[in-house]
Amino acid sequence: MAASIARKVLRLLVFLLGLTFLSFCLLKLVPGDPVRGILRVDEMAATQDQMGGIRKELGLDLPLYRQYGIWLSQLLKLDLGSSYLSGRPVAAEFAEKLPNTLALAAGSLLVMLLVSLPLGALAARHRNRWLDRMSRYMSAAVSSMPSFWLGLLLIDLFAVRLQLLPPMGSEGIASLILPSATLGLSMAALYVGLIRSSLIESGSQEFILSARARGIHPFRIFVRHQLRHSLVPLLTLLGESLASLLGGTVVIETLFNYPGIGKWIVDAVSARDYPVIMGYVLFAALFILLVNRSTEAACRLANPELARKELRHS
């Protein structure tokens, strides 16, 4: 047991090491110079001397492996370096912006579940009737839209025409509604179909019939037997969408000018702010690995038979 955990941790470390090194190489090998960006921010006329000086200061004149070594040794001290743009520590800036992104992610998940669960259940119940068809066409349409475009339509309707909600920024709950709705709706499109087909599949199971034949109340059957049967595919998809939520927030945060880590990384890219980009890569990798592990654990909890099968296979 201990050995297998040790092996897993080792594998994780090797993976992260490889990933960050690869990212580091890509960053440095591709043309583009952060120094110009920094100088432009300072609004100075850049002379070769100045540029050389800054390059030396940031250690950009060293060979690649030395630079990576420095980054890594700093990382071991839990120091991700400082942003070239703002000059502040990456970790501090990150800690400041992450809650905003988490709030947005939570909001979108909420919208997604509020839309897709009832709609999927209704579509499964009234299979091939008008409600089912409508929800299928709607899902197809929404999932074919670029998410930022959907966001613009929502801004136009609710912020410009109806003036109900603020179009941008991060002042309070109200400004969270539109971005969450945008991201949540574009994800819900995927879920409605999945929930529908998964409920139809579990509804045709013999054990549902057996429960009915025992005179159990339909609502109880639905919640305790049928919904739970659909839980594993749902949890799997939820894990996947948590992971892709990180990508989605980048677009939506940029659209709504929302101060989260997604907007931060986009700004960092155009300035080639290496420490910020590397910090984001590391975070994304850890986040996704964490999400995947938790999804697996949740699936095992939801279906004890699954845990047993895995035990037999390993």
Partner: protein, 276 residues
């Protein structure tokens, strides 16, 4: 006590069961025989109102004077599981796979009776014991932890838990090996003699009919072609179809080729069939 008359079940324009009439006496064991697709299972499902939604049925099913086809959902729920109960062929899916047997048995009690939690548990354990199962262990097990024979006996325990007046067993032994199916039929026999329940036993295999059934009805393409006492139908089948059905029963033991016997023995020893 049960009188089915002119029952028709249709799917769209297709008539799957045609104007079927059948009566069942108190404490009677009726074997409903016929090949698959003859409408046996549909008839059985219609009694409990368990037909899949696209199917519609007409006619009348009287249960002690109560018209089952025009029963509201609530009264039907009260009836199912307590007065009329079912055992199905697919024992692997009789119980919901991620809930323990115990929790599903108590759920059944909860739905029909108000009992203290400890009494519920006690009732379930007694019933599992009756079915010849290691009660405590089965009660705490998930379905996948039991063998096929154990599952089917647990399913019968669930069906008998509330002492129903009618048990509808839809091919309960078809998917079992011969030893397990003998045990299952023995349980049904015991239930019949102890509690005087009536049984509708659906089967396509008449092998055990002579020993267990009082009366046999033979179905073909949606209607009953012959009814009579088990002995009469088995020994002097009147309808040519019954004759063919009976002729197709494999001879028991006597002339079973060695190879078949060996594989039948293997079937009983199916490694998948053992509890893990």
């Amino acid at each position: 006590m049960l009188a089915i008359s002119k029952l028709s079940i249709r799917s769209g324009s297709q008539e799957l069961v045609r104007s079927l009439s059948l009566e069942l006496q108190d404490g009677e064991w009726l074997g409903l025989a016929g090949e698959s697709g003859s409408g046996k299972s549909l008839t059985a499902a219609a009694i409990g109102g368990l037909l899949p939604r696209p199917l519609s049925c007409s006619g009348s099913i009287l249960w002690n004077g109560l018209e089952l086809l025009r029963l509201d959902a609530k009264s039907r729920r009260r009836l199912l599981g307590s007065e009329i109960s079912y055992v199905f062929q697919d024992y692997r899916n009789t119980f919901t796979p991620f809930l323990t047997i115990g929790s599903q048995l108590t759920e059944l009690l909860e739905a029909h009776l108000s009992l203290a939690a400890r009494d519920r548990r006690q009732r379930c354990l007694e019933e599992l014991e009756q079915a010849g199962l290691p009660a405590e262990r089965v009660f705490g097990s998930y379905p996948y932890q039991l063998s096929g024979g154990q599952l089917q006996r647990a399913a019968i325990a669930a069906a008998l838990l509330l002492r129903p007046k009618l048990l509808i067993a839809d091919e309960p032994t078809t998917a079992l090996d011969s030893l397990s199916s003998r045990k299952v039929l023995g349980l049904l026999d015991a239930a019949k003699s102890r509690f005087g329940i009536s049984i509708i036993w659906i089967t396509h295999d008449l092998r055990h009919a002579r020993r267990h059934a009082d009366r046999i009805a033979v179905m073909r393409t949606g209607s009953i072609v012959e009814t009579g006492s088990a002995r009469q139908v088995l020994e002097h089948p009147a309808h040519p179809y019954s004759r063919r059905l009976i002729a197709s029963i494999p001879p028991l033991r006597r002339e079973m080729p060695e190879r078949l016997a060996a594989s039948a023995g293997l079937e009983g020893e199916d490694p998948l069939d053992h509890p893990r």
